[in-house]
């Protein structure tokens, strides 16, 4: 964490000490988890292994006062990994004070904010940095220092953000798996801004519901969360990738139409400042068949098209790709569910497949399984160096 981040942490800690001295009622919850990852193929690099154990903890401390109009949340996170010292990491996911006014809310401290509607990628979601070492699906986020004012008015909800301090993306270390190759040298980031990771970013988002339509329009000005990676061969024995964080302006639109059993979804962005400005979009649907098989299982059919205008050297893995998936929700006492999906590259026929399944055991345990495979990946694809990293992951989590 950078110094600015730390100072926010320190001040909020001071506030929390003051609060605790009023003898407030703290609610503690969270989880402990043990995880195993097994890889099917020999690694690209002999320092990598075919198996990995790790454990994580994420408690949440919460309290509220003034009849709930003020609240405080502290959610630290830590993982210890058997092999990858970059994956052994800690983070403060949340450490913030929230005040609720009649038609406004103010959140100050470290927090996580999600924007968007689609499943195959989260284009519009930009406030938080992705914690890539946690999961390559992009859904695990690092805590972001922020001051967020929400105005809840008749014309919609307007969220204004001041984001002091930047979080660099996490990447697996040399021994980590799955990882792109060569490894990313996180010690050598390049920033476009002279303020580097102390640059203050700004964002705003307007969102509103119009009957069956949920609409969000957003703009972000600041350091790109999504770095370009440049090859560094200054040490020919150990080539690496250097993350480059440009200053960008990104406008985003997210729309969902909810009608009967249909969800129609669209996310689109226009980003300027990272090479030529470009447009990227993802859109599609989720249709659910309710009460299948034994009468309680829901089966969702998902399809999304991904488009990215960037030239091949800088483009994301989603430049002209179709995602198809099935979601099974058993609606049983154990909340069993599964999502099976593949992303097909229409230009190269490469395929990334993903299975996620989970089930509650007893009252406090959840078992989950993930399976990820990368198939027929051509040399120019960003996934090429992941071609031998197909893996299965088992996780057992205890919730308290």
């Amino acid at each position: 964490m950078n110094r600015l981040c730390l100072s926010v942490v320190t001040s909020v800690c001071a506030a929390s000490w003051a609060i605790s001295s009023w003898a407030l009622d703290w609610k503690v919850s969270g989880f402990l988890s043990a995880q195993f990852q097994g890889f099917f193929d020999e690694p690209l690099n002999p320092v990598q292994s075919n198996s990995d154990f790790s454990a994580a903890i994420q408690p949440e401390f919460y309290t509220q006062w003034n009849a709930g109009t003020d609240s405080f949340t502290f959610t630290p996170f830590a993982r210890i990994d058997q092999r990858d010292d970059q994956r052994s990491h800690y983070d403060i996911r949340e450490l913030n004070w929230l005040h609720v006014g009649s038609d406004w809310e103010l959140r100050a401290g470290v927090g996580i904010v999600f924007w968007g509607v689609t499943e195959s990628q989260h284009l519009v979601d930009i406030i938080n940095q992705t914690d890539v070492v946690e999961d390559i699906d992009g859904e695990e986020k690092l805590g972001q220092p922020m001051i967020n004012l929400s105005l809840i008015r008749r014309w919609g909800t307007l969220d204004l953000f001041v984001l002091p301090g930047f979080r660099e993306r996490t990447f697996p270390g040399r021994k980590g798996r799955p990882r792109i190759s060569p490894p990313v040298n996180v010690a050598m980031p390049v920033f476009e801004s002279g303020a580097e990771e102390k640059h203050v970013d700004f964002a705003l988002r307007w969102s509103e519901v119009f009957g069956d339509w949920d609409v969000g329009l957003s703009h972000f000005h600041g350091t790109s969360r999504d770095p370009l990676l440049a090859l560094d061969t200054s040490d020919p024995a150990f080539p690496s990738l250097i993350p480059i964080y440009d200053q960008i302006d990104q406008t985003g639109l997210d729309v969902q139409l909810t009608h009967n059993s249909w969800l129609w979804k669209l996310e689109a962005i226009r980003r300027a400042g990272q090479g030529d400005s470009f447009i990227a979009a993802v859109g599609g649907f989720e249709y659910t068949f309710y009460g299948m098989f034994d009468g309680a299982t829901d089966v969702g059919l998902l399809a999304e098209y991904n488009y990215d205008e960037r030239p091949i050297e800088t483009r994301s893995p989603f430049e002209n790709d179709v995602f198809g998936g099935l979601r099974f929700t058993l609606n049983d006492a154990q909340s069993s569910e599964a999502l099976v999906g593949c992303i097909f590259d229409l230009d190269s026929a490469s395929r990334f497949c993903n299975v996620e399944a989970s089930r509650r055991l007893g009252a406090r345990w959840v078992a989950s399984l993930e399976l990820r495979t990368f198939s027929s990946v051509p040399a120019l694809d960003p996934f090429f160096t992941l071609r031998r990293d197909d893996y299965v992951q088992f996780e057992l989590a205890y919730y308290f």
């Binding site: 919460y62 609240s71 038609d103 999600f114 909810t258 009967n260 059993s261 909340s335």
Partner: protein, 260 residues
């Protein structure tokens, strides 16, 4: 005098239904009266313990809290907060119910901090894996059903109307319901649910009624028995509170994210 006798004679020739209430009118009148007696509570909060039992008698429990805002002229707004099992803690469900058109529903997923608009076509789907369907726990608006009074019948020593209700909204899992409504307080004591094939699917028994604000009756226990799969669910209500001054702001998408 002769004229009057003549008029009465003529009137007596009119079909009986022209004067007396039809079974449909009587059924509707009972529903309107039950609705009228439950007007004006403004907002309510309650805690619920849900006990799920499978055919083998194994149980699992859920603990939830719910807040409801009375909306006149439309369905109520409600917010449900999940406390237990621990893995779904802080998950919250926001619903703007409507009489005929589909409800608006959002789900908050705390792990991703994501608010997700969800389809409300799953009215017949199980709520939290229980034997209660979403449509069973949704606000009961008069317009949701057509009605027909079937008979009067005593249930557990209380005189009751038995009324047939046929859902008028789309995506219902039922062809009809038979509801036992007590004559003194117009409380629902029992409901038989008939599936799409017309077979008896489930029976709801509502008991342990308490009166609040000297007017509004609330059951503290509901038992839903599924006759087809042998499972049942018990809902135990506690800590009812009314008129806490909740407003629309307590039922918006922002409140969904921060509610505890």
């Amino acid at each position: 005098m002769r004229k009057l006798v003549l008029m009465m004679a003529l009137l007596s020739l009119l079909p009986l239904e022209g004067i007396a209430e039809s079974a449909e009118e009587k059924g509707l009148a009972i529903a309107i009266e039950a609705d009228r007696r439950d007007l004006g509570w403004q907002d309510s909060e309650t805690s619920m313990k849900m006990i799920l039992r499978n055919r083998q008698g194994e149980t699992s429990e859920r603990q939830i809290r719910s807040r409801t805002l009375e909306v006149t002229g439309d369905g109520d707004k409600s917010l449900i907060i999940f406390d237990h099992p621990a893995d779904v803690k802080n998950t919250a469900f926001l619903s703007y119910t409507h009489a005929i058109r589909p409800d608006d529903q959002w789900l908050y997923l705390p792990a991703l901090k994501r608010v997700k608009r969800i389809a409300s076509a799953n009215k017949s789907g199980p709520f939290m894996g229980s034997e209660f369907a979403y449509e069973d726990i949704s606000s009961q608006e008069v317009k949701k059903f057509s009605y027909k009074w079937l008979r009067d019948e005593a249930i557990d020593g209380e005189e009751a109307f038995v009324v047939e209700r046929v859902p008028q909204y789309e995506h219902s899992g039922y062809t009809k319901q038979h509801a036992w409504i007590d004559k003194e307080h117009y409380r629902v004591l029992r409901v038989d649910y008939f599936d799409r094939k017309g077979a008896l699917l489930k029976t709801l028994t509502a008991s342990d009624y308490h009166q609040y604000l000297e007017k509004y009756w609330r059951a503290h226990r509901m038992d839903m028995q599924n006759h087809l799969n042998g499972k049942n669910t018990t809902l135990l209500f506690s800590d009812y509170e009314f008129q806490n001054g909740l407003s629309e702001r307590d039922f918006d998408r922002n409140s969904l994210k921060r509610i505890r």
